[in-house]
Symmetry: C2
Subunit: 265 residues, 2 copies
């Protein structure tokens, strides 16, 4: 499995393409409808940019469908690769949407937050794989290994659930960082002073559960501090709403536990 | 400034006491009302445990009031150290609440998530300092330096705002980790698979703003994925509420920006 065609020219197409090239794969073509991005990526990958379906090379060993989640089905429905291995790279899309475009289909979903120009090593990317055949699944497993990644076999429903959790821990946390940054900037205070705290909060996960790591006013049921904070946020309705809801949610988490404990006694 | 008395026996008292001892300070006493904790900590610090105010040694150079936020004032009001330097270690409490207990007062607030048995190095703890005199402020500055920490001078209002932001980035993110853990555990899926993603999301802060780092369905305005996730969360009302609010908040953040951009054009 050495010859690859990449369909798509976004963040994941970049990451997978660049890594495959580094690992001596031959990227035959990059196909996508965004002409400029296709040319840029194709150049980086020493591949031929193509813009029409009929020009797609049918001699590749594997076709990566690295387009946005809502486009996977649409694009797949227009393709026909016979029995060549076609994989999509989405966390949210079912395997079966690829059915029409090949007999051998799979999923190769890098569970990571990826931006085009990042140089993330696949060593730090768990890859969630799935296929309609054991043979292809093993091929995807060894492909992940070649790229330096650990692979995990989950079905489409499980992958969707893991993706949901990924949104919660990554996208939502990042949004909290943004809200805090925005607030401090408005108050002419530096966000960077929080970096060590942010890093430590993540480090703590390796020694204890988040449940046990929880600290802060809501964890202590310290209403006075919570109300002081809410007062400080009177002019920042967006953060105030988030502050209120997450504090309530923390209090709820630890009150429930107490209630359960008391019930057991 | 070599002789220290520690008032309090909780997480921060532990951290400060252990670090001071390591740096060759002499901890004369540990005073607190929780007898068991006081004895434990005093033993660790080679200090004398004391339980009544009248027994507190008045020959120390500095008194650390490391009690819980809502207790600082109560405890300070019962003490009188003349002109000895007394500092509290709270992010939320004003400097002035120490007024009654000494002429020389200050704040020494370690901006970090701290648990009793953690072995966090002060190198990764920004210390927020404040005092009612420049001389004492300089003493606190050099004390922080001796412990290996960077110190930052902010007034009480600024410190409260930084503390608020700390709650948002640390306590709230940690709660998101817990909610995701809880959800995956219920679905019999492993939370550890998300560790590399969580770490990368934090690493990204060093190269770009959280605003620019944002990815995910809410960032893209991908309603279909958001609705799929909300459907998956029908049995988990707590996480569903959090998911909805934070997705709305992300969408609001990027829609506002677009509107501003359009207005400028």
């Amino acid at each position: 499995m050495k010859k690859v065609v990449i369909i798509g020219s976004g963040n994941v197409a970049h990451l997978i393409g660049k890594t495959l090239l580094k690992k001596q794969f031959s990227i035959l073509q990059v196909y996508s409808k965004t002409k400029k991005n296709t040319i840029t990526l194709a150049k980086k990958l020493k591949a031929k940019p193509v813009f029409t379906i009929n020009d797609i090379d049918l001699t590749a060993d594997i076709y990566f469908l690295a387009v946005s989640d809502d486009q996977v089905k649409n694009v797949a429905d227009t393709l026909n690769f016979g029995s060549k291995l076609v994989v999509h790279t989405s966390g949210t899309v079912s395997l079966e949407v690829l059915k029409k475009c090949s007999k051998n289909i799979g999923v190769f979903y890098p569970l990571q937050t990826i931006k085009k120009n990042d140089s993330i090593d696949f060593k730090s990317i768990p890859v969630l794989i799935e296929s309609n055949s054991d043979k292809m699944l093993n091929q995807l497993k060894s492909l992940a290994k070649k790229l330096g990644a650990k692979s995990y076999h989950y079905n489409s429903v499980q992958r969707k659930k893991i993706h949901l959790a990924a949104v919660v821990v990554s996208n939502f946390s990042n949004h909290l960082y943004h809200l805090a940054y925005d607030y401090l900037q408005h108050e002419k205070l530096p966000f960077t002073i929080l970096h060590p705290l942010i890093e430590q909060s993540v480090k703590n996960l390796s020694s204890q559960s988040a449940y046990n790591n929880q600290t802060g006013p809501a964890r202590r049921g310290d209403k006075k501090t919570i109300n002081n904070h809410l007062d400080l946020l009177n002019k920042n309705k967006q953060l105030k709403k988030v502050y209120q809801l997450l504090s309530d949610s923390i209090e709820q988490t630890y009150t429930e536990k107490k209630t359960i404990k008391n019930r057991k006694q």
